[in-house]
C-alpha cells in the first residue's frame, strides 16, 4: 500500500515540476503581508514560505536559531543596519502552521508608516507581496484546511460584524465540519450495516439490527436542526434585510440616518425626495442589519418617482422585517392603512416617528392597527432609538439568540436538504429490500460528503471491513 501511494505521489510531484515550472515557482515564493487590519497598538507583518526564516535573518538583529513557537525580542534593521522598529517575532515551522509552510510573524509597533517600512524591508530581503487571501489559499492548497474551513475563512474576511466573525472563527475551528463529519460517519456506519450484508452474505447472515431505524431518524432530526440553525447563520453572514417603509415624508430617511448615525440619505421636507433604494449595513447588537430606505409609497405622478415606488414595494416584500413608519404628529391617513394591509403582520414593526412633536395618533388607534407594540421614536432627537434597535436585533435572533449558530451557506444548505430528504425516503422504505434502502442512504452520505469533501466508497469499505469479520 505504502509503496503504491508513495510511488504515485512522487510521480505526480515530478510530473508537476517538469511541466509547470512557473507554478512550482509560485508556490516556492515566500509571501509577505501586513496581516492586521485597522491601525492599532500592534501591527503584525507575516511571512509564509520556505524562505521565511532566511529572510527574517536578513532583517533581524537577533542572532541564533529560534525555537519554533517561541517569542523573541529583536530590532528590525534596514539594509544598511539602521533600526526601523523594535519587534517581537515568532517562527512557526511548516507543516505545523496555518499555511502548512514556515511562517514568521513580526509583531511590530502599530502605525501605518512603520508597518509599511517593515513590509518594504521584507520585500527588499526577498519576499513577494501576498495577493488577497493568498495565505488562506496556501493553507488550502497545502491541505491544512478542508473546503468548509476555507469557506469559513472567506466568510470571516467578509464577516460584517464582530458576532458574525466569532461564528466564523468557531466554524474555522471546524465546528460545522466536525458536526457534519460526525453525522456522515454515523450514517456510514448504518450504511455499512446494510452494504456488508449485501456484499458478504456468507459471512454476515443475521438480520439488520432494529436500532438502525431509530438511529437513522435521529440523524435526520439532527440534520434538520442544522438547517434551522443555518438560517440564523445566514442572517449573521449576509445580514438581516430590513426595509423602512411608509408614506412620503414620515421621516424614513431621517430614521435611517438616525439608526446609522450618518447622513446617507437626502433628507428634505419635500415629499418624494428619495427615489432610489438606499441600503446600508448597520451593526445592531452584533447583528449585521441591511437597512433599506425606500421611496415613500404613494400613488406617484412623476415617472421617476413611480419607479422608486415600485422598487420600494419590491424591496419591502423581500425584506425579512419591514419598519412601517408613521408620522406621529399627523392623524392616520388612508395610505397608512393601505400600506399596513400590504405586508404580512409577522414582518411588520410599527414605528411612530416624530414623537418629539405633539402626538396626533391615539393608543387606541394604534392598537387597532396592529396587535404588536408600536415603537415611539424621534429621528430628530434620538429618543426611543435604543429600544427600536434592540427589537430589530431580537427579531434577527428569534428562535435561538445564542452564539452557537453555525454558518451554513447556500451550497451547504442545499446539500443538507438533499441528505434530509434522502433519509426520509430511506426511512419510509423499511419494508423494502435492503438494496433499495441503500440507494437513499448512499445519497444522504454523498450529500454530506459534498460538504466535507469526502468520497463515499473508500470510507464505506473501510467501515465494512472494520465492522465485520469477512473473508473466506
Amino acid at each position: 500500500m505504502r509503496v503504491l501511494f508513495l510511488g504515485t505521489r512522487i510521480c505526480l510531484f515530478i510530473a508537476g515540476f517538469h511541466f509547470f515550472p512557473e507554478k512550482v515557482k509560485k508556490m516556492i515564493d515566500t509571501i509577505v503581508a501586513i496581516s492586521t487590519g485597522a491601525p492599532g497598538g500592534i501591527g503584525i507583518v507575516r511571512l509564509s514560505g520556505k524562505d521565511a526564516w532566511s529572510i527574517g535573518q536578513r532583517l533581524l538583529s537577533w542572532q541564533g536559531k529560534p525555537q519554533a513557537r517561541h517569542m523573541y525580542f529583536s530590532k528590525i534593521l534596514s539594509q544598511d543596519g539602521k533600526p526601523i522598529d523594535e519587534c517581537l517575532f515568532v517562527l512557526m515551522r511548516g507543516p505545523n502552521s496555518f499555511t502548512g509552510e514556515d511562517i514568521l510573524e513580526l509583531h511590530c509597533h502599530g502605525g501605518t508608516v512603520v508597518l509599511t517600512k517593515v513590509l518594504d524591508r521584507c520585500l527588499e530581503a526577498g519576499a513577494t507581496l501576498a495577493s488577497p487571501g493568498e495565505f488562506t489559499q496556501r493553507a488550502f492548497l497545502n491541505g491544512r484546511l478542508d473546503l468548509t474551513q476555507a469557506e469559513a475563512i472567506n466568510d470571516l474576511i467578509h464577516a460584517k460584524t464582530q458576532r458574525a466573525a466569532s461564528v466564523a472563527v468557531e466554524q474555522l475551528e471546524g465546528s460545522l465540519s466536525r458536526k457534519i463529519k460526525d453525522l456522515r460517519e454515523r450514517l456510514l456506519d448504518l450504511l455499512a450495516q446494510i452494504e456488508g450484508r449485501l456484499d458478504f452474505p456468507d459471512e454476515i447472515q443475521d438480520e439488520l439490527p432494529p436500532e438502525l431505524w431509530t438511529e437513522l431518524s435521529g440523524i435526520q432530526a439532527e440534520i434538520g436542526e442544522l438547517i434551522r440553525s443555518g438560517h440564523s447563520g445566514q442572517i449573521l453572514r449576509e445580514g438581516l434585510p430590513v426595509s423602512i417603509a411608509g408614506k412620503p415624508n414620515v421621516g424614513k430617511s431621517s430614521l435611517l440616518n438616525a439608526l446609522l448615525g450618518t447622513e446617507r440619505a437626502i433628507v428634505t421636507a419635500c415629499p418624494g425626495t428619495t427615489r432610489d433604494v438606499i441600503q446600508e449595513t448597520a451593526n445592531f447588537h452584533g447583528i449585521p442589519v441591511l437597512l433599506a430606505d425606500t421611496a415613500g409609497i404613494r400613488q406617484a405622478h412623476d415617472p421617476a418617482e413611480q419607479l422608486g415606488v415600485e422598487l420600494a414595494q419590491r424591496t419591502a416584500q423581500e425584506a425579512a422585517l419591514v419598519l412601517l413608519v408613521l408620522d406621529g404628529s399627523q392623524p392616520l391617513a388612508d395610505e397608512d392603512h393601505t400600506l399596513l394591509a400590504s405586508f404580512p403582520p409577522e414582518k411588520l414593526l410599527l414605528v411612530v416617528n416624530k414623537c418629539d412633536l405633539p402626538t396626533a395618533i391615539s393608543a387606541q388607534e394604534l392598537g387597532e392597527l396592529s396587535p404588536s407594540p408600536a415603537y415611539f421614536v424621534s429621528a430628530q432627537s434620538g429618543q426611543g432609538l435604543e429600544e427600536l434597535i434592540a427589537a430589530i436585533a431580537q427579531r434577527a435572533m428569534l428562535g435561538d439568540g445564542t452564539n452557537q449558530a453555525l454558518l451554513v451557506n447556500a451550497r451547504q444548505r442545499e446539500a443538507l436538504y438533499g441528505a434530509q430528504s434522502a433519509l426520509q425516503q430511506a426511512y419510509e422504505a423499511q419494508e423494502l429490500p435492503w438494496d433499495l434502502v441503500a440507494i437513499d442512504l448512499r445519497t444522504a452520505v454523498e450529500k454530506l460528503g459534498e460538504i466535507t469533501g469526502e468520497n463515499l466508497v473508500e470510507g464505506l469499505l473501510e467501515r465494512i471491513f472494520s465492522n465485520f469479520c469477512l473473508g473466506k
Binding site: 500500500m1 505504502r2 509503496v3 503504491l4 501511494f5 510511488g7 504515485t8 510521480c11 505526480l12 510531484f13 510530473a15 508537476g16 511541466f19 509547470f20 507554478k23 509560485k26 508556490m27 487571501g133 489559499q137 488550502f140 492548497l141 497545502n142 491541505g143 478542508d146 473546503l147 476555507a150 452494504e195 450484508r197 449485501l198 456484499d199 458478504f200 452474505p201 456468507d202 459471512e203 451550497r411 419494508e431 423494502l432 429490500p433 435492503w434 438494496d435 433499495l436 441503500a438 440507494i439 448512499r442 445519497t443 460528503g449 459534498e450 469533501g453 469526502e454 468520497n455 466508497v457 464505506l460 469499505l461 465494512i464 471491513f465 472494520s466 469479520c469 469477512l470 473473508g471 473466506k472
Partner: protein
Amino acid sequence: MRYDVVVVGAGHAGAEAALATARLGLETLILTLNLDNVAFMACNPSIGGPGKAQLVREVDALGGEIAQNIDRSALQIRMLNTSKGPAVRSLRAQADKISYQTQMRLALEREPKVQLRQAVVERLLVEKGRVRGVVTNSGQEIEARAVILATGTFLRGEVHIGERHFPSGPQGQLPAVELADNLRDLGFEVVRFKTGTPPRVHGDFIDFSKTIRQEGDPALFFSFWTDPSHRREEVPCWLTHTTERTRQLVLENLDRAPMYSGQIQGVGPRYCPSFETKVCQFPDRGEHHIFLEPEGRRTREFYVGGLSTSLPEDVQHQMLISIPGLKKVRLMRPGYAIEYDCLVPTQLDYSLAVPGVEGLFSAGQINGSSGYEEAAAQGLLAGINAARHLAGEEPITIDRSTAYLGVMLDDLVEKGTDEPYRLMTSRAEYRLLLRQDNADLRLVELGRKIGLIDDQRYAAFLEKKELIEKERTRLLSTRIKAEELPAIGQSSTENLSLAQLLRRPKVSYDLLGALDPARPPLPPEVVEQVEILIKYEGYIKKQEDQVAKFRRQEGRRIPAQLDWDKVQGLSWEGRDKLSRLKPRTLGEALHRGVTPADLAVLGIYLERGGENIE
C-alpha cells in the same frame, strides 16, 4: 512465425483475451508456463457472488467465455441474496476445478486461430516505443504486432508457509522472475501485493454429520446462452466453524506467522484476510464460519474456505483438528501466502493499453486486481482493444453507469488500488441498474458491434427483448376490477392495472396469475425482467436520474486552454493533477481521481463562466 497477438499467460484473463482476439480474426499465440494449468483455480474453486456474478454475466453478454465455462463445469449453483433486492441477487457456482480447466483449455484448442503453447517468456521485444514480440527462455524470438500480458500472480512470486519462503508461482508452479525484472527495466511502476489461500483436506476424513449441508439449484445458470433445459447433478457444500481452540492456536503461534513476524511486506486484501488477521482484528469473536467446498467430482479434495493462512504446516494441521467435522483431518496441501509484483494500474489507460509501449496491453492480476471474474473481464476487454488497435479502430471503453466492468476499470485506472482489487456491489453507484439479470440488455448490442455475438445469439436476444416489452405493455394496459382483488388478498376502491398491482409490496407476478388468465407462457428470465422493471420502477427512475446527472457531468466540457492557476480554491494535488492530465470534461476529471471538493470548486468556476465558455 509472426503472430498478430501474443498472450502471455493462459489463466482466466489470458484465456479470455486469446479467445477474443482469435474470434475477431487475429492469429493468436497464447503462452503458458504449464499447459496443464490453463484457467487454473489457484484459490477458491468458485465463480460468482455479489458483484462478481454481475461481471460474469457482462462478460457473457459481450461474447466472453467464462459464463459458458462455469455452466459446463459447475458442481452447484446457488442464488445469493434472494430477499435483499434485485440489485444484489447474485449467482455463485462451485466449480469442478479440473473440469473448469479442461473445458477452458478445450475451448482454446478448438478455436481455429488460437495456438496454445507451453513456454516461459523472459522479456518483451520493444523497439522505438512499439512492442515487437516476446523472447522465451530458450532464446526464441516470437514476433507479434500486439502483446497482452496476463501473468497473474507469477511475477516474482514468493510463497510463504510459516518460516519457510521460496520463489514460486501459485500451488507449486514456476514463478516468472526474468519477466518481472524486464518490466521494471522498461520503466513501469510496480507494486508488491500479497494474497493467500487456505489448506485443502481429504473429504473422506470429514465428518459431515457435524456440518450443515448447503444445496444449490440445478436449474440455475450463468450464461444467457446455456440451454435452460439442461439439469446439473448437484454436489453439496458444507458449513462448519472454528472454535476457541483454533483461536488459541493462532495466538500461541503468532510469532511464527509471516504476516506478523515482518517476513511479508506485500499488502493483502481486506476482504480476504488471513485467519490470523481475523483473530487479531476481531479478538472478541469466538467462532468463524468455515466452508468446506468440494474441488471436483473426480477428487475428494476439499477447500477449507475461511481459513486462509500462512502459519506453519504443523500449526495448520492443529487448527484443522480443532474444527467440528475435521477431527480426523488429512491435510492434502497447506495454506500459504504469496507475494507478487503487479503494475500500478493508474499507469494504464481505459482500453487496458500500457502507455509508453504501443501495442502492449495488460489484464488480470498483473493490473492489481484479484479474482477469476475480474481477470476474465479484463482479459476480454484487453483482447477486444488489442484487436481494435491493430485494426486502427477506436478502443472500447465502458463507464461506471453501464457495467461493473466500467466500475472496475474506472477504479483501477483512475483511482488505483492499494490492495488486490475485488469487485463488490457497494463499489457501484448505480447498482440497481447494473443487475445480473439485465447484463444482456445492457451489453449485447455492444458485443454485437464488437463482433463477438453471432447471429443466432443475437436473434435470441432480440426475441427476449421483444417478449419483455410486450409483456410489460400488457401489464400496464390490462385492468382488473376492484371486486376481483380480494381473491389475491388485495383491495382497492377503483379498478387497477396489473402493473399497478404488481407495484404493491406483497404482490408478485406469480400471485397475479389468479387474476390474469390471458397471460402468455413466458420464459422465467422474461418474467423476472418484467417484474423488476415494473415493481422497482420508482427506484430505477431514481438511479436513471443519477446516471443522467453523472453523464451530464461527464459531458461538461472543460476548455482546453483553461488556466488552472486562475481557479481559486483548488487543492494543490487537484490542481497539479488537472493541469497535468488536462481532462476534457468534469467527468473525466472525476475519473482522474480529482476529489469531490475540487470538482465542486471547478464546477463553480465553470458555472460562473470563468473561461467564457460557450
